[in-house]
């Protein structure tokens, strides 16, 4: 509670700072923009901002307070943009006068700690994963798992389920995926936080990873970037075309590319179980939220110019941090959507060069 107030105050200060006279100079010099939300995207947002600060003098003040906080802050207009891993539904956007667009792709990777098993050796289908998280499959040598993994020596070891204890976009994606692929999961449902039928909760990705690493027989789920950076043994998942895929930058990009964004008003799309032989089934994006009508055209323009610069020059930085940049045609689609963001004069605040 107290922390929220402090963050709120900090955000207010940041916004009042960017409403100051320096904004009038335009987006090229010394502008400060304030954003808040997704902790997942925070590292890449700051990396992008760092590169642009040297170039254009644009400074980003991003508060990684969680997606829920980002939504609250942008609705309260205390920040110039919010960032959420859980996209808002089109009607929710309309109600608040917001627009959203994807900024960077990420995803969720189930990780395991089974003695003698390395990354990608275990193959699971969506319903099998749901059965494990429902507590129905209790041992690694369960007949169903053994049948699905011929040639893999699955030990007689109890399965310890590890999940996120804190409300998180990662949990939202993971439970949404289980809801989509396993009708049985409907008893639990999908949300940032759910009533887990079994298992232990670790705080944050490192909390989950900690429990998984310390418990032989554990299965957990973490963000792709975290799994990659920490070399955790991942599970190979079956996607909607029946192929077992490994989580790689390529398989996330494949999911984003095969998604049909044209039929998703307001970019409301969860990249779950997307078609495509190579698509990773639990893919998501961090979405930026902005007000459709900007009270201050210069601030709106600065935010869009920031994302424009990130799209043009930020892909290497994203790859280096194990994020997945948007595919080119999606970038074009996002850029053309920006014409909906208008200033007090009714004109678009920013027109991308490309």
């Amino acid at each position: 509670m107290f922390r929220k107030i402090v963050i709120g105050l900090a955000a207010c200060l940041a916004v009042s700072a960017c409403n100051g006279p320096e904004v009038a100079k335009g987006p090229s010099t010394g502008v400060q923009i304030a954003g808040a939300g997704s902790t997942f995207a925070a590292p890449i947002f700051s990396k992008w901002a760092e590169a642009q600060k040297a170039e254009t003098g644009l400074a980003l003040n991003y508060q990684a307070i969680g997606s829920g906080g980002g939504i609250k802050q942008i609705k309260a207009r205390t920040v110039a943009f919010g960032a959420t891993d859980k996209p808002l539904k089109p009607e929710e956007l309309d109600e608040a006068g917001l627009v959203q667009f994807p900024t960077v792709i990420g995803g969720v990777v189930p990780v395991v700690n089974i003695p003698g098993i390395t990354g990608g050796q275990i193959k699971l289908t969506g319903p099998q994963l749901a059965d494990i998280y429902l507590g129905n499959t209790k041992k690694w040598n369960d007949p169903a798992l053994v049948a699905a993994n011929p040639g893999v020596a699955l030990p007689n070891l109890p399965i310890t389920v590890v999940h996120r204890s804190d409300g998180s976009g990662t949990s939202f994606l993971f439970t949404s995926y289980l809801t989509a692929v396993a009708p049985k999961w409907a008893v639990v449902g999908a949300n940032d936080a759910v009533k887990w039928p079994t298992g232990q909760g670790g705080k944050g990705n490192d909390g989950v990873a900690g429990f998984v690493k310390q418990t032989p027989g554990a299965i957990g789920y973490v963000e792709y970037a975290f799994a990659k950076m920490n070399n955790m043994a991942h599970v190979s998942l079956q996607n909607s075309s029946g192929a077992f895929v490994n989580p790689t930058a390529g398989s996330f990009a494949a999911a984003a590319a095969s998604a049909d964004w044209s039929k998703a008003p307001g970019f409301y799309l969860l990249l779950l179980n997307e078609p495509g032989a190579n698509a990773w089934p639990i893919t998501g994006a961090t979405f930026a939220l902005m007000h459709k009508s900007q009270t201050d055209a210069a601030t709106g323009a600065a935010v869009l110019s920031y994302f424009d610069g990130a799209f043009s020059k930020g892909d290497d930085a994203a790859n280096a941090l194990a994020y997945v940049p948007l595919p080119a045609d999606l970038k074009a689609r996002v850029r053309s959507s920006w014409s909906a963001i208008v200033g007090p004069d009714g004109k678009p605040v920013f027109t991308p060069a490309q």
Binding site: M1, K4, I65, G66, S67, G68, G69, I71, K72, T160, S165, D166, G167, S168, V188, G189, A190, N191, D192, A193, V194, K195, W196, G199, Q200, G201, G202, K203, G207, G210, F211, Q214, T215, A218
Partner: protein, 321 residues
Amino acid sequence: MTSEASVLIVADAPRAARGTGLDRAFEILCFTAATFLLAALGGLIVSLMIGGWPAFAHFGVGFFFSAEWDPVKEIYGAAGAVTGTLVTATLALIFALPLALGVAIFLVELCPAPLRRPIGTAVELLAGIPSIVYGMWGLFVFAPWFSKHVQMPIMMSATPGTLWETLTTGVPNGSGILSASLILAVMILPFMAATLRELFLTIPPQVRESAYGLGSTTFEVIGKVSLPYIRTGAIGAVMLGLGRALGETMAVTFIIGNSHGFPTSMFASGSTIASTIANEFAEATGVLHTSSLIALGLVLFVITFIVLALARVLIGRQANL
């Protein structure tokens, strides 16, 4: 010119009058400070009540007795978190109190003079370690050790079918209610030890020396003279330690396993009020969810208040004896 004149006038004013002016200002300052604190406290209670009202109104008394916590179906109950809070704090106190007494007695009565300062400083330093550090240490260092050397032997020695077996079931990775209590004990130990040491130091040397003079052993002096002498303050120290254990957040969140509902064994995952709020508040968007978390905050406030009030009553009773 005028300013010089006024300085002269002040200098010429009678001493008493000048003193009264300053006194008055000081009085107002102190009064403002005290009432501001009271107003802040009152404001806090009122805002917790307003924030938690939707949850109380929706769930009624059932909020306090249900351990159901389902953010998808929007059903919330405080019983699991309240139980977790009370159990971990009480266990922590049980573990920490004898150790804290031992440390304090050793430092005051038995410790060789050259060691007294280093050990005393170390205890105070322990009290200053941020709780997140205890959390990380608990998860990455303590839990694996605890799992291997305490939890696994206990779990494997339990006879199947007995109550003891039920009490010791859990995931063998060193997390859960008992681990959280032990971490809490380590956290409140230095705080209590430092307070108890200060209390022992307030005992007039004559009192102890007289006891020694009468031929008492060190054990008798501590048990029959020193401890009774500081009893009043010691209860206060214990209650303050309990207060800290009740509200401790980050360290517990890392190690307790964070599952809602009643913990059924000492190695089972549980949750406390503070850990639940820390986990879920940032991402709680629904009105009922946010409100239930604030209501939990109010419950914690009330529990802490009761503990402190109890301490007051006990200390008061001691003082009257």
